[in-house]
Symmetry: D2
Subunit: 161 residues, 4 copies
């Protein structure tokens, strides 16, 4: 089947800028991640502006919604910051999309040791092909319904609510 990957930034895609001495955004890692995964299914990557999800505004979430609406793929994986992932999930969940939309992200950037990014991306690519249409959050090796999930920030994990 076919998959659309939508990059929106977040911890997953942060990059260390050695001149500034801090983490920010450069080119997305997703082209490299997709190649590394050796995916033979049809995959289309769409890169939206890469943002820290704490800085996402309503307009940014609407842009994600527009991308999902216009997608021709039945499965969509959105790589997103963890801090407001549930807010974007709510915007998408209330839109009654016909596709299976899975939001995922990472607690540790892809380019930093011990990152969960590649695991989470694989997990999301799997369940996006198998779950019925709807909007889901996939983190910590679990699938959550869009309206029953919250990030526990002090523990650093997603929980059902």
């Amino acid at each position: 089947m076919s998959l659309r990957i939508i990059a929106t930034g977040g911890t997953f895609d942060k990059h260390y800028d050695e001149i500034a001495g801090q983490l920010g955004f450069g080119a997305s890692h997703l082209p490299q991640v997709i190649a590394r995964a050796r995916i033979t299914a049809d995959v289309v990557l769409e890169e939206l502006p890469l943002l820290d999800s704490l800085e996402m505004q309503d307009a940014d979430r609407q842009r994600v919604l527009v991308s999902c609406r216009s997608a021709t793929q039945r499965g969509i994986v959105i790589v997103h910051g963890t801090d407001t992932m549930q807010l974007t999930a709510q915007v998408l969940g209330q839109a009654a999309l016909a596709s299976t939309v899975v939001l995922t992200g990472a607690m540790i950037p892809y380019e930093i040791a011990n990152s969960d990014a590649l695991f989470n991306f694989g997990f999301a690519c799997g369940v996006a092909q198998v779950l019925p249409p709807g909007v889901y959050v996939a983190m910590n090796g679990q699938v959550f319904a869009w309206n029953k999930v919250a990030k526990n920030r002090s523990a650093g994990v997603f929980e059902q609510v």
Copy 2:
């Protein structure tokens, strides 16, 4: 939900022995992989003898079948060598198991640069929770039925047959 992970070796788990100067098997990487994935679902890891799948005998595949039969989890992920993954899938597929069993592996060992191991493991952990009972192979970002898959060795990818 709960997951059983069964380690059987294969390229995924190969380890470079610096004294022998070659790849072989030491301790499984899966405890580290599971911790890195920050899985909050219930996960049990069972380590069978780690083997190159070209060296697996009937008795080795029967041992995997016994593990699946005795598992109390509804979802099972088997980390397996790619060369005979389809043979083990056939043994399990013909056994009419009540659980969802997903075999996966890697083209590049987990500890080598650019490895697909963590992606494949995440993918398998996802679909093992969502697919109906049955036996599946998950490689190259796709799910294959146990009796409709083959490894194309010259291309290094799994294909539907």
Copy 3:
């Protein structure tokens, strides 16, 4: 011969805190780095408080000087932040120490992809055993005298001045 390694923090030793979502300091990576290097020479690691070198005060540099003075090893490698490495080098250079002291660091933290940390540490461990007594900065594959070096911050490299 014998080497003393003095950890003072800096970019080399920064660690990503997944709860805070930013780089800071945890345990030093140097025990792991030294093991990975398979050094058979006598090596002693001394961990001073790990600091961003922009936050180092005079008292912090004096503490480094005290460590160098009291060291019994002929070669000393100091892992230090790059932004004020030359200032600490000046404090040590004016102290007429009897040992060979080499300051090094990294532009990219050890735990981030494409880091120069391990190369720089190896370089410093080498020249600290071979150079005559004195204070040096080792960065960018070059050795600089303590009083003839500056970091070019916009280019991200050390230069002779």
Copy 4:
């Protein structure tokens, strides 16, 4: 100062071939290693045929000697397999070269987790700029004279003899 890097293969430069399922030689990692090290000194890389050092013949060692003789740089680093590094060191050591030649390698390939390759390469690049003319082996964080070194294969370390 200027450095010549001569790639001859060895464990340092081994690459995992995912179709063959084994370690061999592809393109050298050294262009990437040199870029990662952010070296601002003049560096020239010369790639000789990449060989497992157990398969090196006299003609291969003579080719290394020819490269060293024709080099215009004062410092030369040779990346070499560890098993016969001392034999090549002897060929070079008896040739009375005018430059400083440092042989190094790795116990774990550069592309495998926990590799010593980058440390060893940094160490060698440092001492090659500082040692007087002669031929040396740099492994395990130590410098050895060409005629006073042997690899202890069972322990996996280089020792003075």
